[in-house]
Each structure stands twice: as C-alpha cells, then as structure tokens.
C-alpha cells in the first residue's frame, strides 16, 4: 500500500490512460481498466497481512509460532467455562447443555473480519447446530470468501423500471428480513416526469397501480461505496469492505451504536429495533454468515448484493426478480460482463458523487 497514497481504492473506469500493471486478468488491452484491478489487489494485500486473530487470541497471540498453542488454550478455556456454566444445572439434558455451550462460545467469539478460515467454519457450524437445536430444522450456511479478480458492481436502468416492487419482495424473502417492521433494503422512489430527480418530492411508499401515468421510478439501496463512510465510523470494525467490493456487517460483532447509519448518505442501512421475526416456513435456508442468516435485535443490517448468491455466481435476488430487466449486476473486472458493457456504452451517473463516496451503483437511461 505504500506506493498508493490514496485513502480509498478508486475504480477510475473512465480513465483510459491507466497503466497496465500485469495481465493476470487477461484484459490488458481493454482501455487499461485492469490497472485498477491490480490496485485493488494491493489494497487487499493489506487485509491479508493483518494477523488473523480471533476473540481472546487477539490478546494472547503475539508470535506466530506460539499461535496454535494459545489457540488451543483459549478454546479449551472457553469449553471449560462453558462446561462449568452448564454443569451447575443437574436437571438440564445434553441438548440444552450443548446449546448453552454454543451460546457461550458465540458470545465470546471474535470479529469475523479477523478470523481464519477454520474459525469462520467453526462459527458457521455452531450457528447451524444452534438453529437445529432450537427449531429442529437444518439450514445450509456458508462462509465463502471473496473470489479473486471479482469486484461487484450494479447498474439501474431508469427508463425500464416501472415500479412493480418485485425486487423489494424478492429481497425481503431472500434475505430473511423482519416481517413485523416490514424492513426493506430497497426503496423505489416514484418521481414526477418533467421535474427531474426531485427526491424530496418523490414518494417511496406508494400503494397504487403502477406504472402511474406521468411518473418514473428509481430504486435505491446500499450502493457498496468504494470509499464507504459507514466503515470508517464503526468503533469496532463490525462493518468493512470485502475484497470483492461488498460492504458487509458481522451481525454478531455489531454493538448497535448506529453511527454508521448516521454516516450513510444513501439511506442504505437498517437497524433491528426489535427481534426480527420470519415465519418458520418462509425462512430462506440457504444462508451466508455475512448475508441473510438470521439477525438478532439491536444490530445493523443492509443489502449485501445477496452475498450468499453472488459468491456462487448467481445474480442477487432483486436482479432475477425484476420483470423489466432494469437491474444489471456483474463483475466489474470481467471485460465481457454486461455491467462493463453498460458502463462503456451508456451515459451513466451516480448519486451524490460530490461526497467522494464512489458508489459501485450506476444509473442510466436507454
């Protein structure tokens, strides 16, 4: 990172003079955009060089060679303590003892961002088992990391959107959002034609037939900024940008101060004001730790570009649900992707560019 004096990674997609650093992504000739990709990798190196320490390990672990020893020590300590808490109760059966131990270990686990792959797997296993013990149902939760040479981006065709809100419904179902408070990551703003983008006069909560005459529609959600203000302000690094550009939250590490919410200029974040409730038969059981797994009360959440889908090569639920094709999602580093075609051939713009947040969410018109 030393030769990169910039505080954030810039996409710089319109800069045709960027040097090609290497050809690892095989698109050296395409307007030099891959230069940005290697810049991205440099940024990622920083994350890699940070020690992956978890929970109390972050205190105990100083040297790498002592690492495993201490890890085992910590683990046995935790298990021992968990055992003590449950063994006091004579009447509880094995299951509730196991549940208590899982709860204990979950309470004192570290920040997901700093976990090793093994620790990630362990916490996912614990969460799956805990869900099984509580409901008797088995969920499928993963902890896939970002793939290399992937940087996700999103484009929204204002001409095509008719305000059907299928994206909103698909999002709520896919991401197990609280049904009680009707939490929605996506807002569709209904605007009057001939007035331009007048967000303050727009209606983002309409209940009438669409498309309403003389109106056009524009969707907003988390824009996964390349220079996200929400990440800087978090006092505990419970939210960060992954290597594929997705801004994620560790729901278990969040302390619920809502500073990120105040810092977000795009209304992209939501808070669980009470325990989120999803009817058991509506729970989407294909989950990702950073994505749509069940949240608890008092933590932040937001759009993750459906990390549980996008890291499997699928589109986010909103993209697949859109009946008009107004939503386009893809890998910005892949020169053959639709998103790249849109960025190169359409006149695109982003919201509140003057704030320097560099959203990875573009709007365009036919």
């Amino acid at each position: 990172m030393s030769n990169n004096s910039k505080k954030w990674f810039s996409l710089n997609l319109s800069n045709t003079k960027t040097q090609v650093h290497n050809t690892s992504c095989k698109c050296g000739k395409s307007l030099g955009k891959c230069g940005d990709h290697s810049e991205e990798n440099q940024g990622n190196d920083k994350v890699d060089t940070e020690d992956h320490k978890d929970g109390f390990d972050q205190v105990f672990e100083v040297q790498m060679n002592r690492r495993t020893a201490f890890k085992k020590l910590t683990a046995s300590l935790l298990i021992g303590a968990g055992a003590v808490t449950t063994s006091c109760s004579v009447i509880s059966d094995d299951k509730s003892k196991e549940k208590a131990q899982i709860d204990w270990e979950e309470q004192f686990k570290g920040n997901y961002k700093l976990m090793t792959d093994e620790e990630k797997k362990n916490t996912v296993d614990r969460l799956v088992r805990s869900y099984q013990l509580r409901t008797g149902k088995t969920i499928n939760m993963t902890s896939e990391n970002a793939e290399e040479n992937v940087l996700f981006g999103y484009a929204f065709n204002i001409s095509k959107c008719n305000g059907y809100m299928d994206c909103v419904n698909a999002c709520v179902e896919e991401n197990n959002q609280d049904r009680n408070s009707q939490m929605q990551y996506i807002r569709i703003h209904e605007m009057e034609e001939g007035k331009g983008f007048k967000f303050d006069e727009a209606d983002d909560n309409y209940y009438h037939e669409v498309p309403a005459e003389g109106h056009f529609y524009m969707g907003t959600q988390c824009f996964h900024c390349d220079n996200p203000p929400c990440v800087d302000v978090c006092p505990v690094q419970a939210t960060w940008q992954e290597e594929d550009g997705i801004v994620v939250i560790d729901y278990d590490w969040c302390v619920g101060c809502r500073y990120c919410m105040a810092a977000c200029p795009y209304d992209g974040r939501r808070f669980n004001w009470s325990t989120p409730e999803v009817p058991e038969d509506e729970v989407n059981k294909n989950q990702h730790y950073l994505g749509n797994r069940m949240r608890k009360k008092g933590v932040m959440e937001k759009c993750t570009f459906c990390v549980q889908r996008s890291r499997k090569g699928k589109n986010p639920a909103c993209v697949d649900a859109c009946p008009t094709g107004a939503r386009i999602f893809g890998n910005l580093l892949d020169p053959n992707s639709t998103i790249r075609w849109v960025l190169e051939n359409k006149k695109v713009f982003r919201l509140k560019e003057d704030l320097g947040t560099e959203p990875k969410f573009w709007y365009f018109m036919d």
């Binding site: 309470q107 006092p235 419970a238 101060c257 809502r258 209304d267």
Partner: protein
C-alpha cells in the same frame, strides 16, 4: 499499609456522612432513588423488547439519549472554567467552587456514559469496544476518540479532587506540584472532549446540518455558558443548605464567564442562521425544518422557539452588570440559559440532522414514555452521584470529616 488504613477510614466516614442528614436530605435522596428505579424499570423494558420501545426509527436513528449525551459532555467540559483560574492563574477565589465543579464533571461524565450505553443496541457485547480484548477502530472512528477522551477526562476529574480531599482528610496541605500539572492537562482535555464530540457529528458528509465548521466552536461556547450556569445554581443551593461558605465574589466571577460565553454563543447562532437563510440551498432544509417546519411537519417548533427567546433574554439580562450582580436575576438567567442550551444542543441539534432524510423524506421523531423514563432515571443518577460527592467534599473541606488516629 498506612495509606490503606486512611483510605478505609475515608470510605467508612464518607459512607456515614452520606447516609446521615436532615429530613430534607433524606427526602431528596429518596426522591432520586425512586426516579432511578423508574428509569431502571424502563430500561429493563428496553432490554427486553429492544429499542423499538423508543421513538427512534430507521429514519431518525438517534434521539433523546444522544441529545442528552451531547449536552452533558458540554457540562462536563465546563468544569475547566473553574479549574483554570484556580490552579493555573492562581486566583484563590475559586478554590472552594472548584471541587464542586469537578464533582459536577464526574457526575456529568457518568451520565454521558450511561446515555451512550442506554442508546446501544447490544450493551452485552460492549466489550467488543475495549482495546485489547475487542477491536478498537482507532484512529478512524471518532467514536473511539470520544471513548478515550471521555474516560481520560473522567480519570483526571476523579484523581485530582480525590488527592486533594485525601490530603485534607488527614489534615495535610495538598502539594501543588502534584495536582497542578493534572489541572493544567485537564484544561486542555476539557476543550478536547467537547471538540471531539462535535467532530463526531461534524465529520459526517451525509448530514449537511452537522457538516459545518462552526459546530465545534459553537459547542465550546454553549458549553461554557450552560456548564458554569449550572454550577452557579448548584453553588446557590449549597450556600443555602450547608455550612460551606462561598463568597459572592466567586459567584460573580463565574457569572462573568457565563455572560461572555453566552454572548459568543449568540453571535455564532446568528452567523449560522444568516448562512442558512440568506442564500438557502438544498442543505438548509434541516434548518428550515427546525425553525419553521417543512411541508406541514413542525414537531420541533415549540422547542426551538422556546430556546431562542430564552437564550436571547438571558444573554441580554446578563450583559448588564447591574442586573447580573443582582443574585435573584442571575439565578433566573442561569436557569433559563441552561434550559435554552439544553434544547438547542440536544433536541435542536441531533434530531434535525436526520430530517429531512438522505433522500428528503421527512419522518418526525417523538420520544416515548419509556425513553423519557430512562432519561429521567439517568439524570436522577447524576444528581444522586453529585450529591454524594459534594456532601463528602464539603464535609472534608469544612473540617468536619477528619481522619482519627
């Protein structure tokens, strides 16, 4: 060993002294305990059902708690206004008032911390913020700066008075070489806590109402008006109810500080209002909402139009020396100034930051009963702590509490 014995004596003696008193004193403490219990009940509700029992929503995500937190940081910072003349400028006048001021700072800081914790969605995982065990996002997050400066300030304001009282308790004279450096640090530190708290808001490009270079300085000016105003009121009460003698000269000097700070505060308010309304931009909408309401939504109008006239009236009255030196007028002015700044720096600052929302949506905020209950409970806790601290300090200072060998 000797020191521990003295400390033990001090703790036992102060426990004795704080549990004994006149009927009025017991009524006062009983009343505070009652309010605290109500607050605890309300907080238990909040823990049980989540922050949904408050009036806050995704649109206005900070409310009464953070408003009070912001205001109380100012009150805590104001203790410096007494420390500086006493220890640094060697003005003996304030010596008596300064222990009271520092006690007030300690109470205010504990209230600040209580308000922040009350606002947290997950108080049980607050250990994530402890450096070493958790992940402390320093120096990126201004909130971590605030944690450091507030706790540091709390430490300074506990240790200095403790040292002085500990020496006095043994009948010794405190060594200025030990406490003066601490006092000097605390002068700078007090400015620091309030500036950092202002930067918490000032640094957010998402909220144009806060993203304003004047916010920090205005925080300081209003703090140095409201804080000493509260100290004057407290000194007046102490003078009335205890044997602790506070000279008129002291109160008049503090009144001078209040006056100058209130005047500066008013100038800055005027400058802000001018900027927002002379050439209004899209970014002035929050100010419009605060002062005039937007699209028929005007929940804050009664508040701000109470605060502004009180603020102006108090400043004008205080400006005239004749009125200021009349203690009845002075106490009245201090009271209304305190109320005015509480509204302005609390509700009038935090809530309009969220209204209109990032896309212009106007969703109003009204605190719920539970929220008000918790808030009152925390204020009662502050008063309770302050009463205990002040009672011990006064009894040591007046010589009634001494270590018996």
């Amino acid at each position: 060993m000797e020191k521990i014995k003295i400390l033990k004596g001090l703790v036992i003696d102060s426990l004795n002294i704080t549990t004994q008193g006149t009927k009025k004193y017991h009524l006062w403490m009983g009343f505070l305990t009652f309010i605290m219990l109500i607050g605890m009940y309300c907080y238990a509700q909040q823990i049980e059902y989540g922050l949904s029992v408050t009036g806050m929503t995704d649109r206005v995500s900070w409310g009464l708690y953070i408003s009070n937190f912001t205001f109380l940081v100012g009150v805590a910072a104001a203790a410096v206004m007494l420390v500086m003349p006493t220890y640094v400028l060697k003005d003996i006048d304030f010596k008596q008032a300064v222990l009271i001021g520092e006690g007030l700072a300690v109470a205010a800081l504990l209230m600040c911390l209580a308000f922040v914790i009350a606002d947290m969605g997950g108080p049980s995982v607050l250990w994530h913020m402890i450096p070493g065990i958790g992940v402390f996002n320093f120096p990126n997050s201004m909130l971590t700066w605030d944690v450091i400066v507030l706790n540091g300030y709390l430490f300074i304001n506990i240790t200095i008075p403790f040292y002085i009282l500990f020496m006095r308790y043994q009948g010794k004279v405190p060594n200025p070489k030990i406490y003066v450096p601490g006092a000097i640090i605390s002068v700078f530190w007090a400015v620091g806590i309030h500036l950092v708290t202002a930067f918490l808001y000032q640094g957010l490009q998402a909220r144009p109402f806060w993203n304003n270079a004047l916010l920090g300085p205005r925080f300081l000016a209003s703090a140095f008006a409201a804080g000493p105003a509260l100290i004057i009121l407290v000194l007046a009460i102490i003078r009335n109810f205890t044997a602790f003698s506070i000279e008129d000269k002291t109160i008049k000097k503090i009144a001078m500080i209040v006056t100058v700070a209130a005047q500066i505060n008013l100038i800055m308010l005027f400058s802000e209002v001018f900027k927002e309304f002379y050439a209004p931009t899209h970014h002035s909408e929050s100010a419009y909402y605060l002062f005039f309401g937007l699209h028929g939504k005007d929940a804050l109008l009664p508040w701000i139009w109470t605060a502004i006239p009180l603020n102006i009236l108090a400043t004008i009255l205080l400006t005239f020396g004749k009125l200021r030196n009349n203690f009845k007028v002075l106490y009245f002015c201090c009271f209304i100034l305190f109320i005015a700044i509480w509204i302005e720096k609390g509700f009038g600052l935090i809530v309009p930051g969220f209204i209109p929302g990032p896309y212009g949506k106007i969703a109003e905020y009204t605190p719920t009963g539970i929220e008000i209950g918790v808030t009152l409970g925390i204020w009662a806790m502050g008063a309770f702590i302050f009463t205990i601290l002040a009672k011990t300090a006064i009894n040591i200072e007046t010589g009634r509490l001494r270590f018996k060998k």
